[in-house]
Amino acid sequence: MAIASGGAAAPVTSKLQVSAGEIIVDNVSKSYGTGIFEKKVVKGCSFTIERNKLTVMIGPSGCGKSTLIKLLAGFEKPTTGNILLNGKPVTGPGRDRLVVFQESALFPWMTTYDNIMYGPIARGEADQKARDLAEFLLDKVGLRDFRSKYPTQLSGGMQRRAELARAMINNPEVMILDEPFRGLDAMSKELMWEYYSALFEESHRTNFFVTTDIDEALFLADRLIIMSNIPTRVRATIEVNIPRPRKLADFFTSERANEVKMTALSLLHEEAMKSFSGGSKAAADFVDSYARRSEQKA
């Protein structure tokens, strides 16, 4: 198809008109329940998702990251504190923030192509431009041959790529992704990192990416936000300062990468240990898995 081949050659910025937003999370807390049933999940959390940067948030499993994302998406309201998008408070879901939630949510009753076009169609913006963009994105995520397949006919990795495309077509000011590659095998995960970082490098849209995987965080991040255990708040922010484009082949051998990784790991260890002494099984597993990994590497 003429559009697709033409699209691949043209610079992406012309296709994806990026207007990047900025989100400020200001002293946000969130509790569920009241009285003796009150459960504090987020407590006094402040950070900024900076314009044109890929900010990665990493924290122990169960610390409250997905809860934060629901707040950012506008599906829930903070108990106290404010969330500002480009200076305006967030009051509900909106197309300016596109959120890809942890659970895979491609509509099983639509083909890949219809899923990708859903956003523009729902908003009544399905013009030729949107269709061209869909073709372009199908190529970009390598699903052109699967455009008329249903999600259940795609592999896990393909589903995630389709979901990325479905989000990107809307040109959101901020893209928010909650562990989008969770549950993929190591090989497809690495492939996805490359896909995803290439997509980011072409557009430099504001991206917020949540994960529990330190290698993933490191490879993708411009800025790394490390979260404390539940009730969660920001433990540290690290400017990664590793130039782009990044290539997996030599990334993890670089000195800077290792330096950041060590700093991040020791902070995460501390957080995990805290709740381990509190008796959390999840945290114990978390520590174990990292201990095992670093042994293997040594």
Binding site: A73, R123, D145, K149
Partner: protein
């Protein structure tokens, strides 16, 4: 083996196949090494194996006789070559391949590979298509060459790209159906089914006509019923050769059809709204739950008082049970929809009404169709109850009057006919449902059905 699978998974054609097929392909792959300068094959030789380059570099030169846009190319780890081994018809090498470095390759027998891909019902054709794509895009060969890779299910494929797709898909649906039918015949299922029928009929025949067991001897026997049913001049007035028989069948089917359509038209929307709107549910559901457990027979007097004539009360009774089944299943369907779908739709800019139309309705469909199948079943059930009490034609009426008039074989004819017609209508609903929900069917196919 693990390593082989990982390597295969990185190549374009094998990326898409199911894990099982991938494992099988790994099973028929052989590792081989070559030294610098070795020639793996040359143009004109016969082509038996497909290769995947595991490490090192190769020089791939397509013979000038073939019309390629670019003839020479160097291959790196992960590249697939030797695809002439899966061509349809003559399999002759089209290129010279030599090693510019020491290399390691995986060698895969072409015929066996085709066989494995054919067996992968879900992704085999995608893998085949990737091969054609690979040939045209990475080796710059014209479609006449790329199209020589067969497509798995449909016989000769159109360039499996854009137009022509529906035709190809229809062909593959047809072949798939035929394939499944073939599988079924080859499986033990049909024979087990026959044994089941033979056991039923055999014990009927034996107990009634051969051994004449105490309470059984008054029952109509198998041979009596069959003779009566197919008689041109039936003793009790009802057989496949009498027009009354068809009139009864027709009247019953018409009543069920009207009741079923009404129940669907009212029950599905009611169920959707019950599931979707909290407030609506709070008003309506308690009433609904109170009426639902009342047996159909208990409604008979009211139905006769409320409706005039003989037709409407029967239709009302038939409608009632279907309606409850449909509405309840639809409501459960709406509740079963994962919240992540509605969340995603809102994120993508849909409004509440769009979410209802584009997420709630299709998401509830699998349950709706289960509900409809149940609903036809209970429609027949309550139809007979209604026809026994009121009404002038229909299979329930036949059974009831045959009893009072001591035409015992006709009772059985009515019963068996009910069974057959009831089964046929359920099957029709099921087929229609599956046809309308292809995605659901695929999901079940992948779930190992």
């Amino acid at each position: 083996m693990e390593q082989v699978e990982q390597l295969l998974k990185r190549t374009l054609p094998f990326q898409v196949v199911s894990p099982e097929t991938l494992g099988n392909i790994a099973g028929i792959s052989q590792r081989e090494t070559f030294s610098e300068g070795d020639v793996i094959y040359s143009a004109g030789q016969s082509a038996n194996d497909v290769y995947v380059l595991a490490s090192g570099r190769l020089h791939h030169a397509i013979t000038p006789q073939v019309n390629a846009k670019i003839h020479e190319k160097s291959l790196n780890a992960g590249d697939v070559f030797g695809w002439a081994a899966i061509f349809e018809g003559e399999r002759i090498r089209l290129a010279d391949v030599s090693c510019t470095e020491p290399v390691e390759v995986l060698r895969i027998d072409g015929t066996k590979l085709l066989d494995l891909l054919r067996r992968d019902r879900n992704f085999g054709d995608a893998a085949m298509r990737s091969f054609s794509q690979l040939i045209s895009q990475q080796y710059y060969l014209p479609p006449s060459v790329a199209n020589r890779v067969p497509s798995t299910l449909a016989a000769p494929a159109t360039t499996a790209e854009e137009p022509g797709e529906p035709a190809a898909q229809m062909a593959s649906t047809w072949t798939l159906t035929m394939y499944r039918a073939g599988e079924w015949i080859r499986s033990p299922d049909p024979y087990l089914m026959m044994i089941g029928f033979m056991l039923l009929l055999g014990s009927w025949y034996l107990t009634v006509e051969v051994f004449k067991l105490p309470r059984f001897e008054d029952l109509p026997g198998l041979t009596t019923v069959v003779t009566e049913w197919f008689a041109t001049d039936p003793m009790y007035g009802l057989s496949i050769h009498t027009s009354e028989y068809y009139q009864h069948v027709w009247v019953s089917i018409r009543r069920v059809a009207i009741a079923f359509l009404l129940a669907t038209a009212l029950g599905v929307p009611l169920g959707l709204f019950l599931g979707w709107s909290r407030t609506f549910r709070e008003y309506v559901f308690p009433v609904f739950e109170l009426l639902r457990p009342i047996p159909i027979l208990a409604w008979v007097p009211l139905a006769i008082i409320m409706f005039t004539g003989s037709e409407t009360p029967v239709i009302f009774l038939t409608f009632l049970a279907s309606f409850f089944a449909t509405a309840l299943n639809t409501m459960l369907g709406v509740e079963s929809i994962d919240e992540s779908y509605t969340r995603a739709a809102y994120c993508l800019g849909a409004n509440r009404w769009q979410v209802f139309r584009e997420v709630i309705i299709p998401g509830a469909m699998p349950y709706v169709f289960t509900g409809l199948q149940i609903s036809v079943g209970v429609a027949w059930f309550s139809l007979v109850a209604g026809e026994m009490v009121s009404g002038q034609y229909g299979l329930g009426y036949v059974i009831n009057t045959s009893y009072t008039m001591v035409r015992y074989p006709t009772i059985i004819i009515g019963m068996v006919t009910l069974g057959i017609v009831g089964y046929a209508t359920s099957a029709m609903v099921r087929v229609a449902g599956n046809y309308m929900m292809q995605w659901r069917l695929r999901e079940m196919a992948l779930g190992g059905r």
